[in-house]
Symmetry: D2
Subunit: 326 residues, 4 copies
Amino acid sequence: MAENKVIRTIGVLTSGGDAPGMNAAIRAVVRTALGKGVKVRGIRRGYQGLLDEEIIDLTARDVSDTIQRGGTILQTARCEEMRTEEGQQKAAAICKKYGIDGLVVIGGDGSFAGAQKLANLGVNTVGIPGTIDLDIACTEYTIGFDTAVNTAMEAIDKVRDTSTSHERCSIIEVMGRDAGWLALWCGIANGAERILLPEEHDFDEEAIIEDIKECRKRGKKNYIIINAEGIGGSIELAKRIEAATGMEARATILGHMQRGGSPTCKDRVYASIMGAKAVDLLLEGKSNRVVGYRGGEYVDFDINEALNMQKGIPAYQYEIARELAL
Amino acid sequence: MAENKVIRTIGVLTSGGDAPGMNAAIRAVVRTALGKGVKVRGIRRGYQGLLDEEIIDLTARDVSDTIQRGGTILQTARCEEMRTEEGQQKAAAICKKYGIDGLVVIGGDGSFAGAQKLANLGVNTVGIPGTIDLDIACTEYTIGFDTAVNTAMEAIDKVRDTSTSHERCSIIEVMGRDAGWLALWCGIANGAERILLPEEHDFDEEAIIEDIKECRKRGKKNYIIINAEGIGGSIELAKRIEAATGMEARATILGHMQRGGSPTCKDRVYASIMGAKAVDLLLEGKSNRVVGYRGGEYVDFDINEALNMQKGIPAYQYEIARELAL
Amino acid sequence: MAENKVIRTIGVLTSGGDAPGMNAAIRAVVRTALGKGVKVRGIRRGYQGLLDEEIIDLTARDVSDTIQRGGTILQTARCEEMRTEEGQQKAAAICKKYGIDGLVVIGGDGSFAGAQKLANLGVNTVGIPGTIDLDIACTEYTIGFDTAVNTAMEAIDKVRDTSTSHERCSIIEVMGRDAGWLALWCGIANGAERILLPEEHDFDEEAIIEDIKECRKRGKKNYIIINAEGIGGSIELAKRIEAATGMEARATILGHMQRGGSPTCKDRVYASIMGAKAVDLLLEGKSNRVVGYRGGEYVDFDINEALNMQKGIPAYQYEIARELAL
Amino acid sequence: MAENKVIRTIGVLTSGGDAPGMNAAIRAVVRTALGKGVKVRGIRRGYQGLLDEEIIDLTARDVSDTIQRGGTILQTARCEEMRTEEGQQKAAAICKKYGIDGLVVIGGDGSFAGAQKLANLGVNTVGIPGTIDLDIACTEYTIGFDTAVNTAMEAIDKVRDTSTSHERCSIIEVMGRDAGWLALWCGIANGAERILLPEEHDFDEEAIIEDIKECRKRGKKNYIIINAEGIGGSIELAKRIEAATGMEARATILGHMQRGGSPTCKDRVYASIMGAKAVDLLLEGKSNRVVGYRGGEYVDFDINEALNMQKGIPAYQYEIARELAL
């Protein structure tokens, strides 16, 4: 590793699924680096674009009027080749060819694994957590979650309106293949009757059906179930509930709209600070680090360490979600 | 029919699918009637609630703070019984029992057919067009379309963000079983490459695939197809497109969120004026009428006449939608 | 005038106050013209930019991803020089120099007056009504009003929340120096107790104060007054009301936020169609025309005729606004 | 103090300025208490309402469909009388009269001071931080800030659009009499050129004017200054800037709209958890506590201790805000 290298050019890329706020992070990387006399190169389409040498210069003007935009101006992609040793060596060589001695990687754990490899190959790297799923263990904040959860919540508020008008059971499926954060937060924020989380693997369908029957007797006008993508099967669940309870049941799968949209204030602010911090770390000669927000502070970890951390839904929050659904 | 009856009590109900702005119309009916010395009764759950005698008094206070709310405070339902002569006679008898000599029915063509029957049975009726589909021939405006089309458009803006980041083809399915208004407007407003309308019955899938290939060669970063519910099959279409073009393709079915949400300004204003106008018509002794907005003016038609009208997507608008997709 | 000239290059500019949807109109002008084999030049900063020769070529790519953006990508300005004969002749000469034989002017009556002069000097012109104030007599729709009125309404919904919590009188000042459309629509849509319009010149402050006292006795939790910029004096009015009634009163002047924001669906669709229509008119050899929407149809008028038309707030709408405030 | 009292009835009130999310907290207090077999009484209009005995029973149904609403269903008020020893004793006596042995107070430091007095007089109390200003030292989160800062940011995004179209300097005044959190976050999130904070007392107007001149030379299309209410004077500042730089300058004072609106997801979730936690604390026999969120966890402090804490804008965040404005 090259801990004390002087950094003259910083590269930045977004990798994996896109997330609102990634542009704020890119902008902060560009502005902070330029402000400190360092050149910035943007790499398009993630690691794939790096391997394809899709590398452009970025000026302060290029990131003007981008902080409020959804998506990522650098675009993003998955890249199988970067998982191979050959791909990693090619990527490191291309960084050297373009004078990129520091690289900021905005993405999730998979993207950090690539950054780790590049660090081992002599390219100083810093990762910034960017994913709407919040499923990065070393940080309480990831770019995009705040926007995504508000997008989902606002959509569910609308479903609830019509669900009440028609006295329906509505099952709304939000993103989250392995992590139930979006489902949990929407469950609380939308006052859902049930929340189905991938962390729980299974749920008691019979208990839900009994509860719906009970609620109907008490005159409740709707019944909202937030289901996570990792559980899935919302359309079939709706059919089974309707058959078992006689209450009209409908499923909505929110899908990709949760990935887009103008970022919330939190996503803009935190992403900006993390972008600036990533540059500061590189300029201090650090490498193989990932930026996080934890315990009320912006922090950074060794990538190796970060990738070995675990996090789960806090028991207290989940318990409260259950109680409030009463 | 009872053209010149003095109206002492007006009933109001919402029927069929709910639509944002229905509360604004209910509020206007209540306030206008009370302001003119007429009592108002709210009938819950549409015609079904009428048959079940779910009838409540409505005061000015009951409709306070409702103009901005989605859904319908009176709730709504479908009602098979109201299609039978027996059901219609029972409904007319219940109106008489509760002193309801004028009835405002907010809904679509099916709901107006019920109002027509009641008018024949001596209950003065006025219909107000309420449906997010805009598929009522006698009027250029229906309550809820403006809100629904903005909800769909904003969701599609978000899908577009992520579609661009990942260079995907996105197929977004909006509501509209028989009418393509929502699809057409979103198609134009979201700058879609293709719009699939139920009015056209069929579409040339091969031409779309060729166009996608062409666009990719020119370096286009996304390809948006707006599909109407009446065409359907978005998930399968996405698979076929991905297989044929090599461009990643994803489908999103927006679903019931399009029915909810706080109404737009237009929906609040037009629904308010239509609600007031419906009361004015009843107080003038009119019956079997439906309120509309046409040619820049609030108008009213005989229900029989209204139900026989036809309307389709204007050719000029559709042509422009095609041209702009270039 | 040059009625039957063949048009090879169309120029487009935005003039006067900006309005959401102007970019949709620019995009439609560009795409429609290019689709029909005509070159397009964008003129920056309105007539001032024309006189300063700030003229750029516009391609289909230049207007990609702009339909959803607020403001105008061409920027806008006021221009005193264009009111002089000398300025007008210079402008016509510059059009000729750049081969601009057709010009689309997006703006208000003042901007159309310039288009009229240029038409007289041999440059074929078509105006598109763009102003958030809706104060163009020949059309029921102007670009930006729909977005602005929703922006104002949503802000007022928020003020209403806190006004209710604190049992306050809130006076909210919306834009509209000479025309009260924004105030009237917000008045209805926000369920205001009073609407002050510039068309009425004066209002009975004593009657408002008596009404507030009356409402407080009946236990009303807030009192909303929508005031138009043309009436003004909201801060002072709040002070006088508080002094006279004892009810806490606060003023909010919404200001320039009403001019910005992503356009609504209606603004995107109507602006797109008007942009396409403006090009179609020029290609038919028409000049000195202004596009409008009237009686449910897209129409066009001679500019001279259009500038002599009058329109006012419809009496029926205003009366209903009053009744509903009861 | 009555540390180990058994709680049979919990009262809840909102006090001071209202904040979006207060209803989520009230709802959580009600549902959690009822779920644990404890009765709940709602006190209207804050301490004033307590002194006036405006006390109502709250059921689960009363808080249905409120989590998404702005304002506070219990309303709020300032109360001078509660600052006197006489008022405090009267309040404690009324609590006893109504069997309120535990009281949840949602508000700011002033409201907690009242809770402290009541705790000394034998009423068990727990405070929940509710203020859009974020100016409560013991907690990193206060109910309403997240919604308010997003409301302000979205309004400023709109002002920015028109500011760019017209190449203006825009000064936008956000709330915050003593604390600059709203200004700082908006400054970062809206990419402002300058942020004026009450914590700094003064700012270098000459430096701003020089910077504007410099930016204009470089061709910048707008110049955004976020000003905090505590600094004020935005309208005059705009005039001075316009006179000194020749750049058109306009001020917007966002005002009370920042207090309203449907709460964001974060405000609903955190307020819900805090509401539940406040009840849990009371049921554990605790008193004179205030709930907080700090270091990534929900915590609680002795009110005396909490009122003596200090917090300021973190230097690192402010420094980054400056750098990014480059």
